[in-house]
């Protein structure tokens, strides 16, 4: 049976909070949200519930669903920070002047090799970005995508590159 099948009887806010506490706690622990961020997410969701309590039929399901969504967004947002950091680091490497030292040359070769192992679409996007210096809007025009689509695809490709860098180690260290 899903949560949809269990409408909750009306109770006071205090009773409601007592009743949902174990589920909320379990959710934050399961998603490993640090306490400071737990406070922000929980306060935002509970305030929204307070303002719209009259129009929400099953507040427990609403709250748990909202918090789960916020926890996922929290992690996606943090993952994005990771991709942005890798992107910035790669852009720094490729922006170095020509005729780099041996270490720099190795780094570029490894980066090329990492990009070459990604799917075709990511290869095109990341090559335009790192080898030819295209901005996202220029890539969108060149590849015929909308601005929104190119940004989503770039993000996915950065995720794939980051995975190779952080998780599978295709670079020099494992050669």
């Amino acid at each position: 049976m899903s949560a949809l099948d269990h409408p909750q009887p009306e109770d006071t806010l205090e009773e409601f909070l007592d009743r949902v506490r174990p589920r909320i706690r379990g959710l934050f622990l399961r998603y490993r949200i640090p306490p400071q961020d737990t406070e922000d997410i929980l306060q935002q969701a509970l305030l929204a519930l307070l303002y719209h309590r009259d129009s929400i039929r099953d507040p427990e399901a609403w709250l748990v669903g909202t918090l789960r969504n916020k926890c996922l967004l929290y992690w996606r947002d943090h993952r994005r920070k990771l991709y942005d950091a890798v992107d910035a680091a790669v852009l720094e490497v490729v922006a170095e002047p020509q005729a780099p030292d041996q270490e720099g040359a190795d780094l570029r070769r490894d980066l090329t090799s990492a990009i070459d192992q990604l799917p075709e679409r990511c290869r095109s996007i990341l090559s335009l970005r790192y080898r030819h210096g295209y901005s996202p809007s220029e890539m969108a025009v060149f590849l015929g995508y909308s601005q929104g689509s190119i940004s989503k695809m770039t993000n996915r490709c950065l995720a794939a590159l980051t995975r190779r860098l952080v998780a599978s180690g295709i670079l020099r260290g494992q050669e």
Binding site: I56, D58, E60, L107, G173
Partner: protein
Amino acid sequence: MTENHPAQPVLERFVLGHLPAAEMRQVSQHLLAGCSECRQVTAGLWEHGAQLAARVPSAEGIVDRSACDEAIDRIFHIILTRESEVARERAQGRELFEELARHPPARQHLMVSNSARFLSRMLCEILLEQAHEAGFREPARAVELARLGVAIADRLAERSGEKGGEGLKGLRARAWAQLGNALRISSDHAGADQAFETATELLDPVRITPHEIARVLDFEASLRRDQRRFVEATRLMDQVIAIYRKLGQRSLLGRSLQQKSLICGESGDSDGEIALLRRALELLNPEEEPRIFLAARHNLISALCESGRPREAFALLFHTRPLYLKQGDRLNLLRLRWLEGAVSRGLQRYEQAAVAFREVREAFLELGLDYDAALASLDLAEIYATQGRTADVRGLADEMLEVFRSRKIHREAMGALSVLQKAASTERAELVLVREVGSFLRKARNQPDLQFTPIS
């Protein structure tokens, strides 16, 4: 490659995206330089982060349980304190709304724009609720109320500064969407498009609850449906349905399925429409939401009729009749009578159908609901055309044209009725043409710019 390896906790925070931006970049550079030792550590940490980001939370125990409990306690305390404040704000909001309502619309705008007293979140919420309600009865009033809501929401955000304004994005997005919806109902599609553009820009999933996002997308789907952009409307409704399912909102899920069924119906997918209405009816509670439940039943009976299943429609109508009678208001009883006519027509009981359509038509004219009267007239004309009574078809077309002309409403609908009138005057008003005009009038109701081009 540098020999200064980041410590394990630093690598962990790096993988979780928890380090400040500069440190994130430093660790990236270190890994990019090919440090196999550190990559071995990050590879182990990656999987966990990937699970979290991919909705498969598994690991527990890394966050301090007592710290988590303390955080929850603190917020519960704040919320319990806020409860009475919100109740007070709500009462004040109602008083402010009543005060506003005592003045003419132009004055209301001045009051909202110039007086800090009216900068109340609750007043804004009440205005949006009232705009929604007015949309069913007084479209112009709905626009005025929504505009007041937008003015307050925008001013509240402006006053709160950048950080506080972020927290009001949800309210602003809903206010702009409510305005877009009111403009849609008033047939101002260009204005509605602009309002939804602003509402969509404010849809920041980090700051806004999924419920608020669903509200905005739901309204936008209605606009796209009216604009006959069915693919977009369906995509938006699918998002809304997914959100309400995740939030466990049974009733809202039922309403969304009902909304989606309208898109199917208007795009000609009657099987899809019927299937969605049946699912919606399973989720809607007739005790809690009798009007919405009845609307879904009404639409289902109508769809069954239109898809050539009048016997099923007849059976369902028999079971639904008590719900109409329970509602008891004149409009609902007229809708029932209209539906009885349609079911009788489906069952080829033409005389019964004609009596019902005639009654409905007269009642709509009496109530000043000319457009509905025209639609009922066309249903009646369809019966006459089936029976070869061309002179009666012409009589109906003459009468409806006269009504439309005298009230100066809906130029394109008048054009379509003119075509029917001319055809009838030369004895060429065939059933196909009557149906075409009827179908056009139904579509053109929400799309005044739609042009009538007869195929037959």
